[in-house]
C-alpha cells in the first residue's frame, strides 16, 4: 500500500510496475511520456519471482525507443517475459469506460486477452499496420489489385484477434457477471457480449479462423465503395465493441455512474478470477487510488475480493487508515499489508 498526497509519484510507481510487466505504458499514450521532463532517459528495474527463480527485468527508454533486458541479456522476444507474468491494472481512467467511446472498451478487452495470449500484442501491431496501409490505399484511390493484396493479411490477422477477444469474453463473463450480482445486490443483471460492426459479420459458434478470415475479407469488399468515400476501413476488430447491458438495457446509455463503476469493478474481478482459474495463480494487481472513487459499499466489496485474492496487490491511496480499516472490516483483520509513504518521488517504508 502506497500512501501519499496527490502529485507525489504514486501513479508513476504503478506506471513503472506496469511497464516492467508488459513493456508498455499504463496510462501514458506514448513511451516518450514516461521519461521525466527534461531528462534524456528513463530506467526501470524490477525483480520478479518466476518459476525459474528470481529474475531481473530492466527497461530503458530513450528517444522514444525501448530496450529491455532479462537478467542482463537483451530480451529478444518479449513473449519470454509475458508467458510468466500476468498483470491486471485498475485506474480511475477505467471507471469511465462504460459510458465512454468504444476504444477504451476495446483496450480493456485486449489487455485481458494479452494476459492469456501474449501473441495478441504482435498481432495487434501487424493488424494496425495492415489497416493503416489499406486506409492509405483507399485515400490514394489505388487500383483494386493493390488494395486487395492488403485485405488478405488484414482479414487474416483480424480474424485471429477477434476470435481471441470472443474467447476471453466467453471465459471471463461468468466470473464478471457473478461479481456484479454480488456487488450490486438485487439490481439488474450484467451481460457482456462481443459486438461486431457489420450485420453480415456476426459471430458464428465454432467458426474456424480461416472461415472467419474469409468472411471478413468478403465484408471488406462488400463495403468498398463506402470505405473509399470515407478513406477509412469500416469493419474489422478495430470497429468492434464490447457490449455491456444491464437487464435488457445498454449500460452505455442507461447505467448510473455508480452502476458504471460497479461494472468495471466486476469486469476486473472477473478477469482476475478467470486468470486464477486458467493459470492456477493470481495475476499481479495494480490499483491506482480506486477506492476514493467508489462508494463505501462497493469499496467494501473490492476489499473483500482483494482479501480473498492469493496474489500480490500494489495499491495507492491518499488515506491509508481508511483503506486498512476497510480491509479489516472485510475479513476481520488487515492481513499482510505493508505500508509505504510516497513523498516528492521517494518511497519509504512506514
Amino acid at each position: 500500500m502506497l500512501e501519499g498526497p496527490n502529485g507525489q509519484g504514486k501513479t508513476n510507481f504503478l506506471e513503472a510496475c506496469y511497464l516492467a510487466c508488459t513493456l508498455r505504458p499504463l496510462r501514458a499514450q506514448r513511451l516518450a511520456e514516461l521519461v521525466n521532463f527534461g531528462a534524456d532517459a528513463a530506467r526501470v528495474t524490477a525483480q520478479f519471482e518466476m518459476r525459474g527463480g528470481d529474475r531481473a527485468v530492466e527497461i530503458e527508454i530513450a528517444q522514444g525507443r525501448r530496450v529491455a533486458r532479462l537478467d542482463g541479456k537483451p530480451l529478444r522476444d518479449p513473449d519470454e517475459l509475458f508467458r510468466e507474468l500476468a498483470v491486471v491494472a485498475f485506474t480511475p481512467d477505467d471507471l469511465s469506460l462504460v459510458r465512454a467511446g468504444p476504444d477504451l472498451r476495446r483496450r480493456l478487452l485486449d489487455r485481458a486477452v494479452q494476459n492469456r495470449h501474449p501473441a495478441q500484442l504482435s498481432d495487434a501491431r501487424d493488424y494496425l499496420r495492415a489497416l493503416k496501409s489499406r486506409n492509405e490505399l483507399l485515400r490514394q484511390g489505388a487500383p483494386d489489385a493493390l488494395r486487395e493484396a492488403f485485405d488478405g493479411p488484414l482479414a487474416q490477422v483480424g480474424a485471429r484477434i477477434r476470435l481471441r477477444r470472443e474467447e476471453i469474453l466467453r471465459e471471463l463473463s461468468p466470473f464478471a457477471e457473478r461479481a456484479f450480482s454480488q456487488v450490486a445486490r438485487g439490481e439488474a443483471t450484467l451481460a457482456l457480449s462481443y459486438q461486431v460492426a457489420g450485420g453480415d459479420l456476426q459471430p458464428i459458434v465454432g467458426e474456424s479462423e480461416s472461415a472467419l478470415s474469409a468472411r471478413l475479407a468478403q465484408g471488406l469488399s462488400a463495403r468498398l465503395s463506402r470505405d473509399r468515400l470515407r478513406g477509412f476501413t469500416s469493419v474489422g476488430p478495430h470497429a468492434d465493441d464490447l457490449s455491456i447491458s444491464l437487464g435488457e438495457k445498454p449500460a452505455r446509455a442507461f447505467a448510473s455512474q455508480g452502476q458504471a463503476r460497479a461494472i468495471v469493478l466486476a469486469f476486473k474481478i472477473g478477469e482476475i478470477e478467470n486468470l486464477r482459474a486458467q493459470q492456477g495463480r493470481a495475476p499481479l494487481l495494480l490499483l491506482d487510488d480506486v477506492s476514493s472513487e467508489l462508494d463505501p459499499e462497493r469499496n467494501a466489496f473490492l476489499m473483500r475480493s482483494l482479501a480473498a485474492l492469493a496474489g500480490q496487490v500494489l495499491l495507492t491511496t491518499t488515506d491509508a487508515d481508511h483503506l486498512v480499516g476497510a480491509l479489516r472490516d472485510a475479513r476481520g483483520e488487515a492481513g499482510d499489508v505493508r505500508l509505504y509513504q510516497v513523498r516528492a518521488g521517494r518511497i519509504q517504508a512506514g
Binding site: A119, S133, A149, R160
Partner: protein, 214 residues
C-alpha cells in the same frame, strides 16, 4: 565537399562509423589498422570499394546483384529453369542459397509493397518479372551470350512473413494467375530442431493456424 582540408584518418573513421554495428571507437581502430597495414592493403581495399560502385549492377534477368551479365545463377546450366523463386532482397536470396535445397532460379524484387513507406508495385522489380515470364519460351539464340534458357513452370513466392511480405505475395499471385503457372507460397512455422516448448508464441500460433492434413 567543403573547402576545409579534412584529416584523412578522421575522415576514414567517420565514414567507417556509418557502417552498421560499427561505433566511433571501432571505426577509429579500423582506420589505424588500415594505416599500419602494408600499403597494398589500402590500395586493394579502395579498389574493391570502387569496384562495388563501378562494376556491380543488377542482372538484367533476375535483378540479383552481379558484376557479370547475366549473373552466375542465371548462367548456370545446372539450375532448374522450371522453378522460379521470388524474394524481397539479395540477402534473402543468399539465405535460400545457403540451404542448398533449392536448385531453381531467382527473381529479386528489391523490396515489398508498403503504402506507408510509399512503395508501390512500380518501385519493385515486378515489370522485370513479367517481362521475364512473357519472353520465356520465346527466348532464343539471342541469349547465347550465356543465360541458359528457362521454361518456368512454378513460381515460389518467398517474401517475408510480414504484413508487407504477405501482401506482396498475394498481389503477385493474382497478377501472375492468368499465366497459368503453378504458384506456391513458402510455408511458415516452427524451426526444425526446435522444441515446441521454446518456440515463440507468434510462430507457434501461426504454425497452429497453418497446420496441414497428414
Amino acid at each position: 565537399m567543403s573547402e576545409r582540408v579534412h584529416d584523412p584518418i578522421a575522415r576514414l573513421a567517420v565514414l567507417l562509423s556509418r557502417l552498421p554495428g560499427v561505433g566511433e571507437k571501432t571505426a577509429q581502430r579500423l582506420a589505424f589498422h588500415i594505416l599500419e597495414s602494408p600499403k597494398e592493403y589500402a590500395r586493394e581495399l579502395s579498389q574493391a570499394l570502387l569496384a562495388l560502385e563501378h562494376d556491380v549492377r543488377l542482372c538484367s534477368r533476375c535483378c540479383n546483384l552481379t558484376a557479370q551479365e547475366p549473373c552466375a545463377l542465371c548462367r548456370d546450366p545446372l539450375r532448374d529453369g522450371r522453378l522460379l523463386c521470388v524474394v524481397e532482397t539479395v540477402p534473402d536470396l543468399l539465405a535460400i542459397e545457403r540451404t542448398r535445397e533449392f536448385r531453381g532460379r531467382y527473381h529479386v524484387l528489391h523490396g515489398a509493397l508498403s503504402p506507408l513507406d510509399g512503395v508501390g508495385p512500380d518501385r519493385l522489380k515486378i515489370k522485370e518479372l513479367l517481362a521475364r515470364l512473357s519472353h520465356d519460351g520465346a527466348r532464343t539464340e539471342s541469349d547465347a551470350a550465356g543465360a541458359s534458357s528457362e521454361k518456368i513452370e512454378e513460381i515460389i513466392l518467398a517474401t517475408d512473413p510480414t504484413v508487407e511480405g504477405e501482401a506482396t505475395a498475394l498481389y503477385l499471385s493474382r497478377l501472375l494467375k492468368p499465366l497459368g503457372l503453378r504458384i506456391t507460397r513458402i510455408a511458415q512455422g516452427l524451426p526444425m530442431g526446435g522444441d515446441l516448448e521454446y518456440a515463440d508464441q507468434v510462430t507457434l500460433a501461426r504454425a497452429m493456424s497453418g497446420r496441414r492434413e497428414l
